[in-house]
Every structure is written in structure tokens, then in C-alpha cells.
């Protein structure tokens, strides 16, 4: 335990603290919020922060804090699931194509490059037209948009890894190809993958906001950080807090996740241990 404590880098605990408290807020928000996030109150439209409403209210008199708490759950789910799917599918395909090479590689990579040729947000827009403008539509669309970059990164590491002698050593030991991939190839891809996954989590949060902004996100009145940010635009001159608080939430989350991602990468990589 003592050893663990000494090795815990500042970015690990700061990142952990931020992400942990956000998760806590989201968790609480699932069961209790100060006000009903959907309840309209026309006596308190655009109330400034302080007093009864800590973070103020929006143009319909809905409590911003309650909406942020509930929105955290939605936004976190969307980002987590879309990045999770992209990482799973991209890694599996990346290891497969990188290790097997040949025809499999060429077919999958041709398809992958075609996908990459579309800008992510455009691809997501098109997919959402098919999948429907709801949270599962967003998740699916973002997952498909992010898979190609995961695949590229993983395949790249696998291609360089498979030339290393320890892959040959594993074969000489009599290990099967599948075992070698799982035991030696995959763990060595974790470092670039963590970095990519954490930054993708950020992109997903932003993309969700952007899609909501375009009216393709989670339909109102359900709150997400993205559609709150989008809605704040029309009242920016009279109620600046409507945009600021969701913005702070998004940036803080990104910061926390990036710090945590760096810490995780260092931790997963034995070569980085003890360097701090």
C-alpha cells in the first residue's frame, strides 16, 4: 500500500478527484435533484445564480443545477458507450488485420480508409439520419465515426510489434497465434490506446454537444450538457450562466479524463514506473 501511495502521481489523483466527483454528482442526480429538472416555473425565468437556485434558472424557469446533474448521466453514458464500442471493435479489427496481414488486412483497411475519408461529424450526421435522433442513435453514430482511428492506431502498433523478437520467441515456445495476440501484442498496444481513448472521450462529449446544437442530439426537454449549451446561445447577453456552467462541466470533465488517461498509461507501462 505504501508503495502504491508513493507512486501515485499528482495527475492521477487530481484527475481521479475530478472524474470521481463528477461521477458522484451524476450518481446522486439519478435519484435526487434539488428541483425537478423538467418542471417549468414561469415566476422564476432566467433567475441569476444564488438564492433559491444555486446556479440560476433557464428561460423556462428550470433549475440549471438539477438539469446539469441529470445531464451528466446522459452525457457520460453517451460518451462512454460510444468510445467503448469504438475501442472494442477498433482494437479487435486492428489486432486482427495487423497480425494476419494479407487479404484480410487489405479488405478491412480499404473499407476503413473509406470511412476515414468522411469528416467524423458529417459521418455521424448521416448515420443519425438512419439511426434516428435519440441517444442510441448518437452512440451508434459516434462509435462508427471513431472506430477507424482506433483501428489505425492499433494496427500501426501491431505492425511494429510483430517485427519484435519477442513475438518470434512466443511462436518458438509453441504458443498459438491467438494466445500470442492476447498475451504479447494486445497489452503492448494499451499505452497508445489509453491516450487515444481519453481524447476520444473528450471529442465524444463535444460531438454530442455539437449534434445537440444542430438539433440532432437527445431531443428536448431531456437535458444534456450539449443541448443546454446549445440552448444558452439565444440568451447569452441576458443570462450568461446558462452557457458558462455546462461549459465548465465539459472542460472540467475533459481535464480530469485527460489527467487520468496520462496516469493510467504511465501505470500500465512498466517502463514508466519509478521514473517519477
Amino acid at each position: 500500500m505504501k508503495r502504491f501511495k508513493r507512486r501515485l502521481a499528482p495527475n492521477a489523483w487530481i484527475g481521479g478527484l475530478i472524474v470521481g466527483s463528477l461521477l458522484l454528482v451524476a450518481g446522486v442526480g439519478a435519484f435526487w435533484t434539488p428541483y425537478d429538472p423538467l418542471a417549468l416555473n414561469f415566476t422564476a425565468q432566467l433567475a441569476p445564480p444564488g438564492g433559491d437556485y444555486w446556479l440560476g434558472t433557464d428561460e423556462f424557469g428550470r433549475d440549471v443545477l438539477s438539469r446539469l446533474m441529470v445531464g451528466a448521466t446522459t452525457s457520460a453514458w453517451i460518451s462512454l458507450l460510444s468510445v467503448g464500442c469504438a475501442v472494442l471493435v477498433g482494437t479487435a479489427l486492428g489486432v486482427l488485420t495487423g497480425y494476419l496481414r494479407g487479404a484480410v488486412d487489405r479488405v478491412i483497411m480499404a473499407f476503413n480508409d473509406a470511412l476515414m475519408a468522411f469528416p467524423g461529424i458529417l459521418l455521424a450526421l448521416g448515420l443519425m439520419a438512419v439511426l434516428g435522433a435519440n441517444r442510441y442513435g448518437i452512440i451508434g453514430a459516434l462509435a462508427v465515426a471513431y472506430t477507424p482511428s482506433v483501428l489505425r492506431v492499433v494496427r500501426g502498433s501491431v505492425l511494429s510489434l510483430r517485427e519484435r523478437e519477442f513475438i518470434d520467441a512466443s511462436r518458438v515456445m509453441g504458443n498459438s497465434g491467438l494466445f500470442t495476440m492476447g498475451r504479447h501484442v494486445l497489452p503492448n498496444c494499451v499505452a497508445p490506446l489509453t491516450v487515444l481513448a481519453t481524447s476520444m472521450f473528450g471529442w465524444a462529449l463535444l460531438a454530442e454537444s455539437a449534434l445537440s446544437f444542430l438539433g440532432l442530439g437527445v431531443p428536448p426537454p431531456a437535458p444534456t450538457w450539449g443541448n443546454m449549451l446549445a440552448a444558452s446561445r439565444s440568451h447569452f447577453d441576458e443570462a450568461v450562466w446558462l452557457g458558462i456552467f455546462p461549459g465548465i462541466c465539459i472542460s472540467l470533465t475533459l481535464l480530469g479524463i485527460n489527467l487520468l488517461g496520462d496516469a493510467l498509461r504511465d501505470r500500465f507501462d512498466p517502463r514508466m514506473r519509478g521514473l517519477q
Partner: protein, 562 residues
């Protein structure tokens, strides 16, 4: 030695340290160099030899700071020079040849332009004059000027590139040439040609040479004085002959004792061959484009090899000789195009899975570079233990006991099991790789250049360990190496390969003492050897006396006794 007036180069109490931590990497190093003198700096990796030499040109990496001492070149202080003065010094007065000819020439520039660069920067010759000088110099280094000027570096072999590098440096007739491991990346036969060319050129222009090398025999053969460095300090320096005959410092003695030497011949009991390779052919398909296969390249042209139980067979040859391909094909890492491999009388590669399994359990491999052959994410215990996965019926405790036993066998202890490869030294890593190879008690081990990535003293220990394990467990071994000195120490039988064919094979003593094939002779005469003289020192030995050797003797600089 006479006492000449002003030395060309005087390094006094030079100390270099890592800037952020203050660790000294070069510690109070002092030496001088006279004009036209050939001096070698010998030391293992981390001894600071390269840093000390780079500091002479003011080329130490940014992370390294000079914390004391003085460097004087032709009476002027190098550290006191302005950047502009340093640029005038570099190239024009002090030239440098790097280790890796593959990377020290700019791949995107024609050779002619690269040669001209220095002349344009440092001289005022007219273009015609420059071209004439370049053509002359290329002729001198043995390269066809007309074709070479318009060619790109990748069109040349490693040896040719090092010649071009030499030509570009010597064009400016520098007073001092720094050569950092100039032949380490080259094949044995080419090594000799390049180094003799370098020495010859230096003598033509009365250029002093500071040769940095880990190769004692090479330094002994071509230098007048030797500086021995260890952990940033000079432990000993003096005239080459004397230093080799009577080394004073314990480290120098250790270095000399670590030189590989021939062990007494062993008798290998006659038995049916354990490994029997017949007419093995390996073709490399050319890169497959979108539209099918191009013509392939044949790497092995029908190789026949037999290896007896308990026998160590060395396969030697230059790069491109197919020796590594042969090892990989026998290990099952490459699919042979034709021919057969029999292990213990059973033919491999047939449909019988049991035969293949048996072979897989009994054939193991030790790779060249322990940095690359150990998975960086696994602990030593897991690395060594992974080999036991294929052994049926082992309990957890038994497996653990086997791991510890294997680690002990290679001179590591149980405590190392929880460490990671990056926490070990190069020698310890190779020990782990050996432990992993022998833990299953294989009957046959393929070792692909197992010591060529290691330092001299470590190399000697690993070779000793390998021999001891081989003696104890009695595995047969195929030892692939380009290093004749190492082969002479370990092998029972030697196979010489060239261009994918076996050109000579026979017992070690026969091949080394009475080489039959022309290529074997050239290999042997290319590499000087050091022979123990019995009193802790060594003397230079020529493996084969030939015309070239006599020429080299004659080419030796003055001032050397014997």
C-alpha cells in the same frame, strides 16, 4: 617517444555531466594527440568514449554539460570558440566518421551534392576544381566517380557508403579525424577494407586519427597509442604494444581476459543425427503488389546440415549469407519452399501434429537482442514461466520451483523474478532469455547472434554460461554468428555460408587452421585476433598470413615496435 613541442589536440581534465541530474559521465579525462598520430579509445558502452570525442568538436548533446576542463585544438580553446568559429572548425579542421553508414548520409541527396557540400562551405574552389577534387577522391576510395555522383546513397552497400563518408570527410584534408566505431556496422571482410582505406587516407594527408571502438583487436592492429576508458574515466593509456603486453590496470586486464579464445577441442560421440536438414530452399516472395506476385529472391539454395546430439555447430557468414534465414527456417519461424527437416529421425512439416509438438517442446531459440526478445510488459518470472505453459501436468508450486531453478542456473536469483526487463542490464536480460530457452530442457537450441549486442566483458560471461549449460544439459546447438572469435571459442564444428550456399564445413580446428575455400580465407584474414601471451597480456596474432596482411603490416604507422 620523443617530446614534440605543441600537440595537435590537448584535452585536460575534461568533465562532462548530465545537465539535469549532475551525474558525471566523463570524469577528468586528459590526453593529447600529436599531428598525424593514430590513437584508439577503447571502452564498453557507457564508458563515455563517444561523448569525450564529440566534445572535441563541441558536438556534445544538449542534455550534456561541460562542467570543467579544457580542450585545445592547435593551440586554441574549443569551448571558448564562438558558434561561427566552431562551424569553421568542424569539417575543415576536424572531420568525423560515424558508425552507421545507413543513416549518416542524407538519403534524399545525390552523392555528388553531398560531397560538394563541405567544399562549398569551407573552400573557395571553382566548380570545375571541386568536381576534379571529388573525382580524384572517389577514385582514391575505390568508387566509380561517373556513376556515383548522380546516385543516391541507398544504391550503395554499407561498405561503399562508409567509403563515400570517408571521401567526403577527407576531401577537406582535416588535421584530425574522429572515427566513432567506423566499421562496427560492417561485415568482417568489408571492415578490413574500410579501415585500411581510412588509415591509408589519414597517412596520405598526415591526418591524426582518434578511433573510438569497442573492438580491442581492431584498435591493437591499427593504432600507435590506446586510451582505455571505464565509467567516464581514463583508467590507462600508453603505446598500444606495451599496453597490450603489460596491462597495468585491473580493468584493462579484465578486458583482455574477456577476449574470446579457443577452447580445447571436444570429442562428440558419434550418434545418429538429432537434426538432419536436407536440400532446404527458402525463397522470399517479393512484395506482393495489388496485382499478384513479382519474382522472388532465393535466400537459401538447397542446404544440407546435420547436427549430432550434444554438438555445437556454428554457422558463420557475412550479412546476406542466409545464416539467419537458415536458423529461422529450422526453428519453424519461416516456411521453407522446399527440402525437409528431420528431428530425431522424424520428418517435420508433415501432417503429423504430434511430431511437430514434440519438436516445438525440444527446440528453442535465443535471439540476438534481449531488448527486443523480452516482452517489456512481463515480469522476468512470467517471461521464463511462459515457456512452461506447454508442459502438461505441472502444479503452480512445481512451476514456481522450476522458474527459480532456471533463474539460478543462469546466475540470477529468485528476487529477479518480480523485476521487469527494463530494470535489468543487457547481460542480465540475455540471461533471462537463456533461462527461458532452457527451462523446458530442450534437446536442441538455436542461438542467433546471442552475444553480438553485448559488451566485451559481459559477452565473455554469457559465453561461459552458455557453455556450462550446454555441458550440463547436453543440448545440441546451432550457433549463428558473424563473429569469428566467438565461434572459435564455442564451436565443435563450423559451417561457412556465402550467398545462401554452404562454401565450407568441417571441425573448428580444421576450418580455422586450414581453410580450404577462398571466402573462408578472406573472412579469417580480415579479422585480427589477440592471443594471450601467458603473463596477463596479449599479443596481436594474424590468423592467416597473406599478401593483404603483409601490406597491412607495411601500412602500419611508424613508431610501433614489432
Amino acid at each position: 617517444m620523443s617530446t614534440p613541442a605543441a600537440p595537435l589536440l590537448r584535452v585536460q581534465d575534461l568533465s562532462l555531466a548530465v545537465a539535469h541530474s549532475g551525474t558525471r559521465v566523463v570524469d577528468r579525462v586528459s590526453f593529447t594527440l600529436q599531428a598525424g598520430e593514430l590513437v584508439g579509445i577503447v571502452g564498453e558502452s557507457g564508458s563515455g568514449k563517444t561523448l569525450a570525442a564529440r566534445a572535441i568538436m563541441g558536438l556534445e548533446p544538449p542534455a550534456i554539460r561541460r562542467i570543467g576542463g579544457e580542450i585545445e585544438f592547435a593551440g586554441r580553446s574549443v569551448p571558448a570558440m564562438t558558434p561561427a568559429e566552431l562551424r569553421d572548425l568542424r569539417g575543415a579542421r576536424v572531420g568525423m566518421v560515424f558508425q552507421e553508414p545507413m543513416t549518416s548520409l542524407n538519403p534524399a541527396m545525390r552523392v555528388g551534392r553531398q560531397l560538394e557540400e563541405g567544399l562549398i562551405r569551407h573552400t573557395k574552389f571553382a566548380p570545375d576544381e571541386r568536381r576534379r577534387l571529388i573525382a580524384e577522391m572517389l577514385l582514391r576510395v575505390g568508387i566509380d566517380a561517373d556513376a556515383a555522383l548522380q546516385a543516391y546513397p541507398h544504391e550503395f552497400s554499407g561498405g561503399m557508403r562508409q567509403r563515400i563518408m570517408l571521401a567526403s570527410v577527407m576531401l577537406l584534408k582535416p588535421a584530425l579525424l574522429l572515427a566513432d566505431e567506423p566499421t562496427t556496422a560492417l561485415d568482417a571482410v568489408v571492415q578490413r577494407e574500410v579501415i585500411e582505406l581510412m588509415v591509408g587516407l589519414a597517412r596520405d594527408h598526415a591526418t591524426a586519427v582518434l578511433m573510438i571502438s569497442h573492438d580491442l583487436a581492431m584498435v591493437a592492429r591499427y593504432t600507435q597509442r590506446v586510451i582505455v576508458m571505464c565509467r567516464g574515466e581514463i583508467v590507462e593509456q600508453g603505446p598500444t604494444e606495451q599496453l597490450l603486453r603489460q596491462p597495468q590496470h585491473p580493468y584493462t586486464r579484465r578486458l583482455l581476459a574477456a577476449m574470446p579464445r579457443r577452447s580445447p577441442a571436444r570429442a562428440v560421440a558419434a550418434a545418429p543425427p538429432l537434426v538432419d536438414v536436407r536440400q532446404l530452399v527458402v525463397d522470399y516472395g517479393s512484395r506482393r503488389g495489388l496485382f499478384g506476385k513479382g519474382p522472388g529472391k532465393r535466400a537459401l539454395h538447397g542446404i544440407d546440415i546435420t547436427i549430432q546430439p550434444r554438438e555445437v555447430v556454428a554457422v558463420v557468414g557475412g550479412s546476406g549469407s542466409g545464416k539467419t534465414t537458415l536458423g529461422r527456417a529450422i526453428a519453424g519461424l519461416l516456411q521453407p519452399s522446399a527440402g525437409e527437416i528431420r528431428f530425431d529421425g522424424q520428418r517435420l512439416g508433415t501432417t503429423d501434429a504430434a511430431v511437430w509438438r514434440d519438436y516445438r517442446l525440444n527446440c528453442q531459440m535465443v535471439f540476438q537482442d534481449p531488448n527486443s526478445s523480452l516482452d517489456p510488459r512481463m515480469s522476468v518470472g512470467a517471461l521464463v514461466g511462459e515457456a512452461l505453459r506447454q508442459v502438461p501436468g505441472l502444479s503452480r508450486a512445481q512451476r514456481q520451483a522450476r522458474i527459480v531453478e532456471s533463474l539460478n542456473e543462469v546466475g540470477l536469483d529468485a528476487g529477479h523474478a518480480s523485476r521487469f526487463p527494463h530494470e535489468l542490464s543487457g547481460g542480465q536480460r540475455q540471461r533471462v532469455a537463456i533461462a527461458r530457452a532452457v527451462i523446458r530442457r530442450p534437446r536442441f537450441v538455436i542461438a542467433d547472434e546471442p552475444v553480438s549486442a553485448l559488451d566485451m566483458t559481459v559477452r565473455a560471461q554469457i559465453l561461459e554460461l552458455f557453455a556450462a549449460l550446454q555441458e550440463r544439459h547436453g543440448f545440441a546447438c546451432m550457433f549463428v554468428s558473424h563473429d569469428l572469435a566467438v565461434v572459435e571459442q564455442v564451436a565443435d564444428r563450423v559451417i561457412v555460408m556465402q550467398d545462401g550456399r554452404i562454401v565450407e564445413q568441417g571441425s573448428r580446428d580444421a576450418v580455422f587452421d586450414q581453410p580450404q575455400h577462398e571466402y573462408t580465407r578472406r573472412l579469417l584474414s580480415a579479422i585480427p585476433a589477440l592471443q594471450a601471451s601467458g603473463d596477463g597480456g596479449v599479443r596481436l596474432k594474424w590468423r592467416i598470413e597473406d599478401a593483404g596482411t603483409a601490406a597491412a603490416q607495411a601500412a602500419r604507422p611508424l613508431g610501433l615496435i614489432g
